[in-house]
Amino acid sequence: MTHDSQLGKVLSVLERKDFQQLFDTLREKGYRIVGPTIRDGAIVYDELASVTDLPVGWVDEQEGGTYKLKKRGDAALFGYAVGPHSWKKFLHPPVVRLWQVQRQGKGLNIIEETQETPPMAFIGVRSCELHAIAVQDRVFLGGDFVSPAYKSKRERAFIVAINCAQAGGTCFCASMNTGPKSTAGFDLALTEILEDGRHYFLVEVGTESGAAVLKELPHQPAGREDTAAAERIVAATATQMGRRMDTTGIKDLLYRNYEHPRWDQVAARCLTCANCTMVCPTCFCTTIEDVTDLQGDHAERWQKWDSCFTTDFSYIHGGSVRATPKARYRQWMTHKLATWIDQFGTSGCVGCGRCITWCPVAIDITEEVRAIRETDHLVTVSTKKDDNGNS
């Protein structure tokens, strides 16, 4: 799926009443449709049967450690920000079997997995999430090794993006340059417009696949007022951000502040509950489990989500390298904002704000960066050595 910005030059209008047809068309083409729906008091991502499964008329109120749903008063399909799930749930699932092995005498017969899952259509992907998917693409597809499971799901996924009409309370995509407008990585990008009694979507095509789907839907070319309305909405969203992250020189800022006292301060609050890593759309760490059946003839290797916040994550030679919560929080934050840049060429953070919302003690990554920046180099750790090799 290659994004073609030329295709996006022609914008179309899809009426709300025809939205169900998007679902029907995708289903006809063999896609399994996943998107936002309400469950357990939150907007999560799950399989959708029809438009009515969407959180129609709901909005989320998010703050540090707080998430609440409220009725909007209108019938917007996408009138909310992001919830605890991210699309990594589908592209990089929490539990994956890698292979099985059957013991035959002294020998082993390894049975590899076939990557046969129905292609998925993601409905309602936010710009920050498009960036997050691109970040994980670099991890699993961009290096010397490629994950066949990830590749198979990723290449066949159909992405319908949504340009956010309101920012969440903990959002900061604007300062991370990851939104609110979707610019690449989608098959179709929609902006939902409810104005003057009308309810419709401005549609931008991103790929040939997207164009093929749009062709099957009733749509009109967009007029100048439609385009202007969409631009106004997105521009307004950019001003509503609940948070802001100053990323100026952030890699070097964190690299020279590994001994900053702020880490002890945040460690006193952090419960190492690992919520942030679970909700973060770019966190990719996993563990490997080898399991056998009771008879001892059959074994399997499973890959499961893991978190650098667990004590065992860095276990080696009888102890953990990062034994203290301070070391583990520091690892997560410096990885997300600094070492990720050296590893993959971009920040690991897309400004979605989930880690702030879902932290039980409301630790705010933007505030932690600010605090360190304000007292940058408070503790000077010299790594210079004298002539005798003493520091």
Binding site: L98, W99, V101, R103, K106, G107, L108, I110, E112, V139, F140, G143, D144, F145, S147, P148, Y255, Y258, E259, F284, C285, T286, T287, I288, D290, V291, T292, G296, A299, R301, Q303, D306, C308, F313, S314, Y315, I316, H317, G318, V321, R322, A323, T324, K326, A327, R330, Q331, H335, A338, T339, D342, Q343, G345, V381, T383, K385, N388, G389, N390, S391
Partner: protein, 291 residues
Amino acid sequence: MSTNPITDSGPLLALPRRQPMVPEPYCVQRVRQETRDTFTLELRSSNGAARPAFAPGQFNMLYVFGVGEIPISISGDPTSSKALVHTTREVGPVTKALRNLKRGDEMGVRGPFGTQWPVEQAVGSDVLIVAGGIGLAPLRPALYAILANREKYGRVVLLYGTRTPEDILYRKELERWRARFDLNVYVTVDRAVGAWRGNVGVVTSLIRRAGFDPQNGIALVCGPEVMMRFAIQELQKRGVGTDRIYLSMERNMKCAIGFCGHCQFGPSFICKEGPVFRYDKMETFFLLREV
């Protein structure tokens, strides 16, 4: 190719043939006890395929049916085409299971992975190898490779330190190397009781006696992290530049292909940018605690 500035000795060698998370079946040829808690495995491909090429410093992931998988440095001769050789300590369930394998048993191998000792870059220089404890195992392939082209190097010195004389790894081989005229071998132990007439003292004290040119020498260091810190300090004191010191690092490892995130050490993945690092490229992180 990773664009990580920490990347050190060039591209990965010998990428595995199958899907990288799937082991190749290997047959145990021999399990040899080296010291009371250290043993060597000799393996051959079950398919009769030749031993895949590897570079000194690289490691494989060894899998025992139903028990688990761990990273172990290759400790054999890269210039010989015989068995795949690994030396390891018995410290947990997987190593215990490996040690209890019998000739003919099948297990799984993934690899080789990781960066290599700068055997090519060291051509024309003196080479000082400083090994501590089990650290001699990942260095042995480098020594083999250097000895296979001995005339290309200057002075070659091996310094080896371990806890007691009973813990000396590859003892007979060390004695054979010591007998060569083109190789200086010094061995020391931390403690000795009884008949030991060799050196007693820290391996760093051997560096002073090594007799190699700090301006034109390359040092390869491997052992427990504390030992490497001491050794590097001593090397710097003797005038060896931080861009001429290489070490091998270890961290928790699950996938060995840069996906699981466990082996991260600052900006580096030990499985991709390591385990062999040039010291100047990671000194800042090496000196930090709990990184």
